[in-house]
């Protein structure tokens, strides 16, 4: 069967919708969307999304698996909750957006260079290392996220803010070496590992 044929057979079937229902937080709500468009119209960032929520929901129903999961759209959600408040069908849209992002991430097909995606990873790495967020390192990591030269430029630009924060003891340069941490770092690591296992057992990742 050719790709096109494959697509023709799979479109507008329930299979991807089912996958979403089974794997995505609050995914069972997707089928209840009545396509009114209120969420898309309410989203302050909506115009900048490739596919606003209403469209994402229709794409799921139309079986556009790759386009949905590789989309940067749900990563754009700022959790303002405007859509949730307004949706006449009471869909927990914000949660579904994060659920979709999370699922795509777990599948390893989330867009690599999407800034929110990148930052989320930096944050996670930073936090899980010591059990405490190291703000100085996290800030610098963010500045250097897109390479050395841009990192230097941003750092210089933010220099005064950084110094100000140090003067008022909001930021300690000592954090650069080691930094503060929780009492039992290896215990934390063990907890996280276990949690990951539990989650993997609970929600089998399709295709894995």
């Amino acid at each position: 069967m050719t790709d096109a044929n494959q697509q023709m057979v799979e479109q507008y079937r329930n299979n991807f919708l089912r996958e979403v229902e089974d794997n995505v937080e609050e995914g069972g709500w997707v089928k209840m969307c009545m396509q009114c468009g209120v969420c898309s119209g309410s989203c302050p960032l909506g115009p900048h999304w490739d596919h606003p929520p209403q469209e994402l929901f229709m794409m799921i129903r139309a079986g556009k698996r790759d386009e949905v999961l590789q989309s940067s759209s749900m990563w754009m959600c700022t959790s303002c909750y405007n859509c949730i408040v307004r949706c006449p069908r009471e869909l927990p849209i914000t949660h579904i957006m994060h659920g979709l992002a999370h699922y795509a991430k777990r599948l390893g097909i989330a867009p690599k260079n999407q800034p929110t995606h990148k930052f989320a990873q930096l944050f996670w790495n930073n936090l899980t290392k010591t059990g405490r967020v190291n703000e100085l390192k996290l800030g610098l990591a963010l500045y250097f996220m897109n390479g050395i030269s841009e990192g230097i430029k941003t750092s210089l630009k933010m220099k005064d803010v950084g110094l100000g924060m140090m003067m008022t003891k909001r930021l300690s340069p000592m954090e650069l070496i080691g930094g503060h941490k929780c009492k039992d770092t290896s215990g934390l690591q063990a907890i996280l590992k276990k949690a990951e296992e539990l989650e993997a057992a609970r929600i089998p990742v399709a295709g894995k």
């Binding site: 023709m8 079937r13 919708l17 209840m32 009545m34 396509q35 794409m59 139309a62 069908r89």
Partner: protein, 738 residues
């Protein structure tokens, strides 16, 4: 009782009338100019004492005509309700003091207004009589129902439960109509989530077990004559035998038929048996009887079905239905559930442009469909072809803006309903040589105005759908179900219940010789003076309700029980031989002729306002209640319907020196609100010809204006009067003030 006329005129001083008006002067006018035999003022006329005073005059002073100058005729009807006397009302409160500012400058003109209404009331009452009993009154409790579908059966069950004997005439060999062939029905009770049995068997059993209900199957109505309370109908069987029955009222529930899907080859119908309409799917579902539904071509179990909404509907394309049939979105959800309930793995895709789920449970049912995993796709289907493995549906997804080809095992077309409304009595004569289209009449009325109920649009019965949905244009004949407008089963049941109640009301009214809606209870009816009639037939043509037939000598023959008392015939008659005891060319004509007409140089014009009592007059009353003032030169006379306005009133008014005339009726046309359906429209047509009269008098066209006014126009209605006052100021005073 002697025939002597004794007019009692009563002037109220309550509600501020005494403060704002010189009531003593009004009393003098009633006596001197109005020639009232007895005049009394009262501080609070509608209180017990005031009412007792009037009653005492009726009982002991021989007063048999009562003129009450107080509030609007729409107020205090309970108080001013005296038996066996004619009553007229001068509207001094809403019509005078509340429409005028309470200032010193306004005092004089306000008093003049009030004085005129007293004069008018005294004149009106002089020409009014108490309606005498209608000899046409007839009593018959039997109801005839044309059609034994859901609507007909419901009407029968409801009417029988209310104690009225019913006869159902059904064309086919069984009761139940289309519903009998439906596998399940859309749920009719909360939580509106699961399908219900179609319920037909239960209804049929109820009917068969009810001794009050007679059913004629394989039968049609071949002749209907008479009027409410005394209808006579011939019921003929297929085999040709005919029986005649007498009925008090009739319900037309002849339902709808399917649009012919063969007209939709572009959607694959007729090209492959795997494209069916909704009725076709019901058949497959009944055959499957709870098992998997199989497709017709090769019996393969359907794994994947596409529903195409609005097939040949809501479309301007030639041969398509322009309207929405209202039930088919719900029906498609129902039918998709046939698949999902049997096997949730079956893919069901409903392609719609606007999903419409009317009714109390509509939205819940839609949600239930979504819960069950039915896919709803907003899109337009351009083509369905017979593919090698099954039909292929080509559509445009309107949300994702993409062209899609979807293959399916089965495609269901949601086609529309076409009413079985019989002959279009208003259809223009077919051109000569044009192919003859024969349509079977449902009622075969012997009425001069045609065999069936008139249609409004798209072949549906005209039934005042904006305000009074069961009222057709044939009194005592009510229509219910999809013959009236497209609808589903649940709505048809509600509709039929309403129609049954209206039909009962109509036959009860007929017993007492009273009018049906909207002048329900009115005992007056058109008196016709045959000697003067020129047989012009305008009344028989213009009567919106087909009340007037023709006798053997070709004179109009009134059927009082069919009459709604709108007065359109009275307005139509050029020789003015039609009148009502309490409403006539004289009762209005004398009012308008007896206002005080200041001469040309007095700078006090007079504007005559003829306002429909149903909407325009109440609008003016309400305007007054809201403190919206209008010109003190206006004199407002309520009319039963703008259709009752005889052009002689306009001519008389112009000849007696009125400077402007404003006519206010209800909305006309397709979305009419006219309580008498055609009255306002007919009046507008009549008035469009008034220009000739104006021209012959060398008067400006602008002096007569006709408007459609809604009951909510409480700002606009007074403004229209003020506009006329301005027009008069512009064109100058009428030279006809003698």
């Amino acid at each position: 009782m002697s025939d002597e006329i004794k007019v009692g005129a009563y002037i109220c001083k309550g509600c501020g009338l005494g403060d704002r008006l010189d009531c003593g002067q009004l009393a003098t006018i009633a006596e001197r100019e109005g020639k009232a035999n007895l005049v009394r003022e009262h501080d609070f006329l509608c209180n017990a004492e005031g009412v007792a005073m009037i009653q005492n005059d009726i009982d002991n002073e021989g007063v048999n005509k009562v003129m009450i100058a107080a509030c609007s005729r729409r107020s205090k009807n309970d108080a001013f309700n005296f038996d066996n006397v004619a009553i007229s009302r001068g509207n001094l409160r809403e019509g005078v003091i509340w429409t005028r500012p309470d200032t010193d400058e306004a005092r004089e003109t306000t008093q003049e207004m009030a004085a005129d209404y007293v004069r008018m009331g005294c004149q009106e009452i002089k020409y009014m009589a108490l309606p005498h009993a209608n000899e046409e009154a007839a009593s018959n409790n039997n109801l005839l129902i044309a059609g034994g579908g859901i609507a007909g059966m419901t009407a029968a069950i409801e009417a029988a439960a209310a104690g009225y004997p019913v006869t159902i005439v059904e064309k086919s060999g069984q009761l139940g109509g289309g519903a009998a062939f439906e596998y399940k029905r859309i749920p009719e009770s909360a939580p509106y989530a699961e399908l219900e049995d179609n319920g037909v068997a239960g209804m049929v059993a109820k009917i068969e077990g009810d001794s009050k209900i007679t059913v004629h199957l394989n039968s049609t109505i071949t002749k209907t004559s008479g009027a409410p309370g005394r209808f006579s109908a011939d019921i003929s069987t297929e085999s040709g035998s005919t029986s005649t029955g007498n009925f008090g009222a009739i319900i037309m529930a002849s339902g709808a038929r399917n649009y012919d899907a063969n007209q939709l080859p572009e959607l694959g119908y007729g090209k492959t048996p795997d494209v069916v309409d909704q009725t076709g799917l019901e058949k497959l579902a009944v055959e499957a009887n709870g098992g998997p539904i199989k497709r017709p071509s090769d019996g393969k179990v359907v794994e994947n079905v596409v529903f195409v909404q609005c097939a040949g509907q809501r479309s301007t394309q030639e041969g398509h239905l322009p309207y929405c049939s209202g039930h088919c979105c719900l029906t498609s959800i129902k039918q998709a559930m046939y698949f999902k309930d049997q096997n949730p793995e079956v893919d069901t895709n409903i392609i719609y442009t606007d999903l419409r789920t009317p009714g109390a449970g509509g939205e819940d049912f839609y949600r239930s469909g979504q819960q069950k995993g039915i896919t709803f796709t907003k899109g337009t289907v351009s083509e369905v072809t017979a593919g090698s493995n099954g039909p292929e549906v080509k559509f445009n997804d309107l949300i994702l803006d993409q062209e899609v080809n979807e293959s399916a095992d089965l495609v269901v077309l949601a086609t529309g309903q076409i009413p079985n409304s019989g002959v279009d009595v208003d259809a223009p004569e077919p051109e000569e040589g044009a192919p003859e289209v024969s349509v079977d009449s449902i009622l075969n009325l012997t009425y001069r105005q045609g065999k069936d109920l008139p249609h409004l649009k798209y072949g549906f019965n005209d039934s005042h759908f904006i305000c009074f949905p069961y009222e057709t244009r044939r009194t005592g004949i009510y229509s219910a179900g999809p013959v009236r407008r497209p609808m589903d089963m649940a709505q048809a049941k509600e509709d039929a219940t309403g129609a049954a109640l209206k039909a009962i009301q109509a036959l009860e009214n007929a017993k007492l010789g009273r009018a049906a809606h909207p002048r329900s209870g009115d005992l007056s009816f058109p008196n016709f003076r045959k000697e003067g009639c020129t047989q012009c037939k305008r009344c028989t043509v213009e009567c919106p309700f087909g009340a007037i037939d023709e006798d053997e000598e070709r004179y109009p023959q009134f059927n009082e029980a069919r009459c709604r008392r709108c007065g359109t015939c009275m307005g139509a008659c050029p020789v003015r031989v039609i009148s009502f005891d309490n409403y006539s060319v004289e009762t209005v004509g004398q009012q308008l002729k007896n206002v005080d007409m200041p001469d040309e140089f007095d700078e006090k014009p007079r504007i005559l306002v003829l306002a429909c009592e149903n909407d325009a007059y109440p609008a003016l009353d309400m305007a007054a209640q809201n403190g919206n003032h209008y010109s003190p030169y206006a004199r407002v006379i309520p009319v039963r319907c703008l259709g009752s306005v005889n052009t002689i009133w306009v001519t008389d008014a112009l000849n007696s020196g009125y400077d402007g005339i404003v006519l206010m009726g209800c909305q006309k046309g397709e979305n009419y609100q006219c309580h008498f359906v055609k009255g306002s429209e007919i009046a507008h047509t009549r008035m469009s010809k008034i220009d000739d009269t104006l021209e012959s008098l060398s008067l400006e066209k602008e002096r007569v204006a006709t408007y459609e006014v809604a009951i909510t126009d409480i700002e606009r209605a007074p403004q229209l009067i003020n506009d006329m006052a301005e027009t008069v100021e512009k064109v100058g005073m009428s030279p006809f003030k003698f």
